[in-house]
Every structure is written in C-alpha cells, then in structure tokens.
C-alpha cells in the first residue's frame, strides 16, 4: 500500500499510536485481500488501489491513483458512477452491486461491488471506499444455468408430455404447450393459479390436503412415482391421465414437477380388451362347443361348461392338469410328442385346422369328436385353444347312412344282376326267335309238294344272320364282363379281409361290437375271385353282427383271423359271441332259403358255400365257446389249382 486513504484520526499520541497500530493492521488486511479495495474522492478520483485491484483489473496502484475512476468503467456505464456518487453523497451504502469494469487489457470483468462512504472527523462524506469482487466465474456458472434453463424450457415447450411446475402451495409456475393442448387452457390462464383448477372432484378437494400432508409427513403418496388420475379440461370434460410427480428444492422450498400423459387411447384399448375378454368369457361359458385352453406344456387353463358336459369332468378337476387326461390311448401317449414337435418344428399338424379324434370321458367311455386347434401367443409363450364338437350323433347318422348305403348297394347288386339277366335274355332271345322261326319256315318251304327253294334259301340266310347276331350279343356280354377283374386272381386273403373290415367298420362300431383281427402273415396267396370272396367274408361278418345284436348284456366280440391251412392252404375264421347255433340249425344252415333270422332270405350262406366250393375250398360252422358261432372256410393255395 503506497498511500493510505484519509482515515479518521485521533489527536492523542497514545491514541495515535494505538490508531497507528490499528491502521497498520488494516493496511495489511487491505493489501492481502483478494478483493479489490479502492478508495476515491467524491469527484471520482482514485485515492488508493490495493493489490487485489491490480490482480482483477491489471492496473498498478501508481497507474490509477490520482486518476478518475471512470477509467475502469465501461463507457455505457458512466451514468452508473454518477448515480453511485449521488447515493454516496447522501451517505448511503451500496451493497453487492453487480456490474462490469474494464481491465487494463480491455477485458470486461464481472464484479460485485460494495461501496461505502468515507466520513471525515466532522462526519462529512469526503470519499468512498469500494470493495469489488471478481464474479466472472459465478457469472459463467449463472450463464450455464441460464442456458440449461433455456434448454429445459425448449424441452418442456416441445415435449409431448405435459409438464407442470407448482410450488409448495400448489401454485402453478410453469405450464407447457403440451399441457395447454391437454387441458385447453393457455399457460397465462393457469400460471399463478392453484393447480387444483386442473382437477375434477374429488381430487380437487383433496389436493391441498395431499400437499400439506406431504410437507408435514414426507410420506410420498405420489411423489417419485406415477399414478392414474383424472384431468379436468377447460371445457369441463375429463380425461384419464398418467401423472408422475417429482420434487425439487428451490430456496429451501419444495417445488413439484408433474409430468402428464394422456392415456385416453390406452384406456380405450384397455376397455376394449376387457370387453373382448368378457365377451370371450361369456362366449366360452355359453358355447355349445367345448373350448379348452392349454399352455405350451399341455396344462389346461380353461375348460368351459360345454366341455364339462362332454367329458363328465368339472372344470376344477381338469384345470391345472395335463390335457392328456381327456384322451384315450394312443392319443394320450402321443400328445406330448405332438406339442414338443410343434414347438420345435412349427409344423402345424393340427394347428389351424380340424380333425377327427377320440375323446375320453371321466367314466372311461370314448366319443368321436371334431377338434380344431388355434394358437395364440401370451407373454412370448404359445397357448393353444381347442374347440371341440361332439360327433357322436353325426357319427350315428353317418353309420345309419352307411348302412342304408350298404343295403342299397346289396339290393342294387341283386337288381343289377336281375336286370342284366333280363337284358341278356332279351338280347339273346331276339336272334334266337328269328333263328327258330326262320328254321321252321325253311322246313315248311321245303316240305311242300314243290319245295320253294328260293324262299327256303332266304329263310336260311335269315337264320345265319340271326345266329351271327346272337354271337355278337355273346361277344358284347363277354366284353362287358371282361371289364371286371378276372375270375381267378392271385390274391392275399388278408388284404381282402382288411378291405371288407374297412368297408363295414362303421356298422361294427354302431353295434358296439369290439373287433379283433388276427391276420397271420404266413398265409399263402390264394387263387380266386376277390369280389366273390369278399362277398363271402362280408356275409359272414354281417351274420355275426346280426347274431350279436340281441345279446345286450354279454360282451359283443367279433374276431376275424386268418391262418395257414395245412401245407399251403388258407383258413379264415369269423367268430362271434352271438346267439349261437344249435344242432338242428347247424344241419340246415347252408340250405338255400333256410334262415333263422327275422329278416333274411336264407340265401347268404348257401351262396357263400357255393362260392367257396367253386374256389375248391370248404365252408362250415361250429359253436363258439362259451357262446356264439364260428364260421370257417378254407381255400387251396395258389399252386394247387393253377399249373
């Protein structure tokens, strides 16, 4: 410090020395201060300049002392100095006045200025001391802050979500454009008002309590999390919104930021979803068809009332269990594999389409059903919906239809044969009539006293023509028959049996007959007419089926087997558990027009035996044990009859 600014003085030495000591201490403080400490006259002439001032503004003390202070004041702020001086004159102090000063190198330095008047002993203001603090950094921080705020504002201005800032009393400080859109208020209408205005009852009523409650208890009912509330628009309408509230502290007070999202559409979607689900539930509850929902492992999730009726299980018994329990073998066994196979290969064996399968009831009985399976995804996992329709009645109808059809075919075959015979008879009869009549005529032409040779010749010509025509008819018939398989064909009797069974399986099932087939693989090929042999097999099976239709409590068992007969023949057996045959019946069984049946012609067995005998085989019957009958026939092997 080169010169000390005029200071209040004591006139006693002691006091002076004490004052001098104090003054020295003061000077030390001033010189070591980081702040710029400058004194000036009321005219604005610098009278002291400390090291801090040099540090901040770059001027040395000797450069500034005696110079006007305006040297460091930017030209546009000279007015400011005048005002400061005026205030000093009045003895006022100026605290923390932020302004700008010019450094020696021309930099503009942000400073915080405290100006105090300097008094002489008479109490008159003679100058001023200025303490200036460099606040450039603070200013920069403030600038950054401002920029952040601006960015924030931009953000909130352009945000899709509504942003509301309220103070601790609920007064709206900020209301972004998205909010304006959401609520229909302009920011001006809302800012300064209590945020309650944006809430319908009962929220509006409760809100003050929420805020005070939170302030007092710090129990964050909503703070820091989101919740669904209702917003009230300017036009009085309401809308569902998702509100999340965050808290910030400002000047020791809480302020709250509310982020608002309109969830009207989400709500609508949810509503639609709920309604769909409800409808679906109603639908499955009341559906006539069975509906089963299973997860990817086959565990039953839904089992509707129709299913309960179909399967005899209650939903409780089935839900949570594997759906396999509703399937008889072999489906039960296969089902896991189906599911894993589908999961792995995505090969939809049944998914998206329907098929006929067999269901297993609680009581162990089975029923034919139509199953269509759909797939849905839930949480990334497949779930499967099965719609089930009981085919029992349809099956019954089909069975009846099939029977009617079979009956028809049988009748038609007989009719066709009859008609064919009539047709053949007529076709042959005509030329035959011509032949015979012309022959008779010829004899007469020749028998006269003078034989009429001319007429006789014409008669003979007619006879030849008629004979040719008869031959033509025979050729045509032969050609017609030629289209049928040859009378003697090498055939596997097992195949013939299998085909017949396939033909009348419906009939067998309809009569609740359990069918066992035991077809031996070493049966030799036989030579015969496939159709005729199948007629025999069919006839025997139908007889067995009819014989069992009256044995209600006993099991109805039909067993069809084939075996090797002797060295190279075939033996076919048809066993039933029907009413059986007694001795007298056995004797006459194969007579034509003999029957034990209420609706029978008594031709089947006679014809069957004829056919078998024509094939070189035998057909016979014997009683079955414990009840029923066995019909067996043999056929010689291929090699025995054919060269």
């Amino acid at each position: 410090m080169k010169r000390v600014a005029p200071m209040p003085c004591e006139d006693t030495t002691e006091r002076y020395s004490a004052a001098a000591l104090e003054s020295a201490q003061l000077a030390a403080i001033v010189s070591s201060s980081d702040d710029a400490i400058v004194s000036k006259t009321l005219d604005g002439i610098v009278t002291s300049w400390n090291a801090g001032a040099t540090n901040i503004l770059g001027y040395q003390a000797d450069e500034m002392i005696g110079q006007p202070i305006t040297r460091i004041i930017p030209p546009e702020l000279h007015q400011e100095e005048t005002q400061i001086l005026a205030r000093l004159h009045r003895g006022e102090r100026i605290r923390h006045y932020e302004t700008i000063r010019l450094a020696k190198d021309g930099r503009r330095v942000d400073i915080s200025l405290t100006v105090s008047p300097l008094f002489n002993q008479s109490g008159k203001v003679v100058g001023a001391s200025k303490v200036a603090r460099d606040i450039t950094e603070r200013k920069l921080a403030e600038q950054a802050l401002r920029e952040t705020a601006a960015r924030l504002r931009t953000l909130t201005e352009t945000a899709v979500d509504g942003v509301i800032l309220i103070d601790a009393r609920g007064v709206v400080l900020m209301f972004n454009p998205a909010c304006e859109k959401l609520f229909g208020y302009s920011a001006e209408e809302v800012i300064g008002e209590n945020v309650k205005m944006l809430m319908p009852q009962p929220y509006r009523h409760e809100h003050d309590r929420y805020i005070t409650n939170y302030r007092d208890t710090r129990d964050p009912k909503i703070i820091g999390s989101g919740r669904e509330v209702i917003g009230l628009r300017k036009d009085g309408s309401t809308f569902p919104m998702d509100l999340s509230v965050g808290e910030a502290r400002q000047d020791g007070e809480s302020i709250y930021v509310g982020i608002i999202r309109d969830i009207t559409e989400r709500k609508l979607a949810e509503q639609a979803l709920r309604e769909t689900a409800a409808r679906l539930r109603t639908l499955t509850e009341t559906a006539v068809d069975g509906a089963i929902l299973i997860d990817a492992r086959g565990v039953v999730l839904i089992f509707n009332p129709a299913c309960e009726k179909l399967f005899g299980y209650s939903a409780d018994e089935v839900i949570g269990e594997n759906v396999k329990m509703l399937m008889p073998q072999p489906y039960r066994h296969e089902h896991d594999r189906y599911i894993t196979n589908y999961r792995d290969t995505r090969d939809p064996k049944i998914i998206g389409s329907g098929r006929e399968v067999v269901g297993l009831r609680k009581d162990g009985s089975t029923f034919p059903m139509d199953l269509s399976v759909g797939e849905a995804r839930q949480d990334g996992e497949s779930i499967f919906v099965g719609i089930i329709r009981d085919l029992t009645s349809r099956k019954r109808t089909e069975a009846e239809l099939e029977q009617a059809r079979a009956e028809l075919v049988r009748v038609a075959r007989v009719l066709t044969l009859g008609e064919l015979t009539a047709a053949i008879a007529h076709e042959v009869n005509q030329p035959l009539t011509g032949l015979v009549s012309s022959g008779n005529a010829c004899l007469r032409w020749l028998a006269g006293d003078v034989p009429n040779l001319k007429a006789a010749r014409e008669s003979v010509e007619r006879m030849i023509s008629a004979g040719s025509r008869a031959g033509e008819v025979i050729r045509r018939i032969r050609a017609l028959v030629g289209k049928a398989p040859p009378l003697r064909d090498r055939l596997n009797i097992n195949d013939a049996i299998t085909e017949v069974i396939a033909l009348i399986r419906g009939e067998i099932q309809r009569n609740h007959i359990s069918l066992k087939t035991k077809l031996s693989t070493d049966v030799p090929l036989v030579l015969g007419d496939r159709i005729q042999l199948q007629q025999v097999i069919l006839n025997l099976i139908l007889n067995a089926t009819e014989a069992m239709s009256d044995v209600s409590p006993q099991p109805r068992e039909l067993s069809i087997s084939s075996a090797k007969d002797g060295p190279n023949g075939a033996l076919v057996s048809v066993r039933d558990s029907g009413t059986g045959l007694d001795g007298t019946v056995l004797d006459r069984l194969f007579e034509a027009f003999y029957t034990t049946k209420a609706h029978g012609m008594g031709i089947g067995l006679a014809v069957s035996r004829t056919i078998i005998q024509a094939h070189g085989g035998r057909l016979w019957a014997m009683p079955n044990v414990p009840q029923g009958a066995i019909f067996q026939f043999t056929l010689p092997a291929d090699g025995e009859e054919v060269s």
């Binding site: 009539a422 009539t433 011509g434 008779n440 007469r444 007619r462 008629a466």
Partner: protein, 223 residues
C-alpha cells in the same frame, strides 16, 4: 298237320284270304315271323311300330295281329286298348321276350288270343294265329249277318217293327192287337209282312234275329 289244315282253309275260303299283321320293332324277329307265317300260306303284313300299323291302309279281310309286347312308345297292352277304341276288332297274339305272368294275365283278360314267349314255338304260334283268324272270321260272319238283318229290319215300316218286337216276345196276335189297339187282322198282315221282309221261316228264327239285332220290347233299334 297244321299246314294241311291251313292250306285246306285257304282252298275253302278263297274269297276271304286272311291277313296276319306282325308288329315288332326288331326287324329280324319281324321278318322271321313273317317268313314262318308265309311258309304256311298266310298273307302277312309287317310293321315296325304300332303307329305304322294304325296309319296303314288295310284290306278288309279276316286276320289277326302278332304283337311284340315291348314296343317302343306305347306298350303292347296300351296298343290293345287303342285298337278297341279305334274300332279295329282284330284279335291280338302277344309275343314277349320274357314270361311276365301278370302282364300275360292282363293281356288275356283284355281279349288277347295268346301270350307267347320268345323264342316262339312254331306250333303255338301257328295255333294261336289260326285261332285268331277263326275268331275274326266268326266275328266277321256275325257282323255281316247282323248288318244284313239290320238292312232287312230297316225295310220294315214302323208299325211292322212294333208288331215284330212284340212277336219275338212270343205274344199271340190277339194280345198284340189289343196292346197296339189294332184289329187282330191288321196285326196278322203286319206280322206276315215283317217276317217276309226279314226272310224268317219260323218264329224261332225270328227270335234269333231279334236277339242278334238287339230288338226288345218297346225298342226298335239294333245295338
């Protein structure tokens, strides 16, 4: 032998040469049957359909029809009815490819001579044809006789017809006179006139004539 019989017939009935009409859609059968019938001296006309037959110009001669029961279009039985309705009283012999009992019964009931199955037995056919021709001849004779009688009857005066009608009932002249409010003498004159015109030689003959003509009491028309 039938042949001799037929030929004898021919000699006897030269003025009434019979004609057999063969109707069969099968030309071969038609020709053979025609051939056979011609070989026994019959005149034969053949037709492929009932329609052809109905539209043909036929000579007025005794005859019969040999008809296939299975004709295209109308069946043989229907055709038989058509013949009756068309005033063609020719007897019919049916021939059929197969023996249908109910059909043959109906045919016979409807007046068919015979129902023969193919192939035809010569004897059966010729017998049936002969029977048919005979029946037709008889019918024709009868018809001719009735026509002659009718002609004679038409010459009677109405009074003579009245007397004639009462005479055939066997009433004496006196009773007739009383009934017609005539003198017995007048009745006698009418009666002799009527008998003379009808060329009846006895009362028995008069009664037969009246029967044929269908003349009964109170009626004077033949039916």
């Amino acid at each position: 032998m039938i042949g001799t019989n037929a030929i004898g017939e021919r000699h006897r009935m030269t003025e009434e040469q019979p004609v057999v009409f063969v109707i069969d859609d099968d030309g071969m059968v038609r020709d053979a049957v025609k051939d056979l019938l011609r070989s026994v001296g019959l005149t034969v006309e053949s037709f492929g359909s009932a329609q052809d037959f109905l539209q043909s110009k036929r000579s007025d001669a005794p005859g019969c029809i040999v008809l296939d029961v299975r004709l295209p279009g109308a069946s043989g039985l229907e055709f038989q009815r058509t013949l009756v309705e068309s005033g063609i009283p020719l007897p019919v012999i049916f021939i059929s490819g197969h023996g249908d009992i109910s059909m043959s019964v109906r045919a016979i009931k409807s007046g068919a001579i015979e129902f023969l199955t193919k192939p035809l037995r010569e004897q059966e056919l010729l017998d049936a044809v002969q029977a048919g021709i005979e029946r037709d001849r008889a019918r024709r004779r009868q018809a001719k006789l009735v026509a002659e009688l009718q002609e004679r009857f038409n010459c009677l005066t109405s009074r003579e017809r009245e007397v004639f009608a009462l005479v055939v009932t066997g009433r004496p002249n006196k009773q007739i006179a009383h009934q017609l409010e005539l003198s017995e003498m007048t009745v006698k004159v009418h009666r002799s006139q009527a008998l003379r015109k009808m060329r009846a030689k006895s009362l028995v003959e008069v009664v037969r004539m009246a029967d044929k003509l269908g003349v009964t009491t109170g009626k004077s028309e033949a039916t």
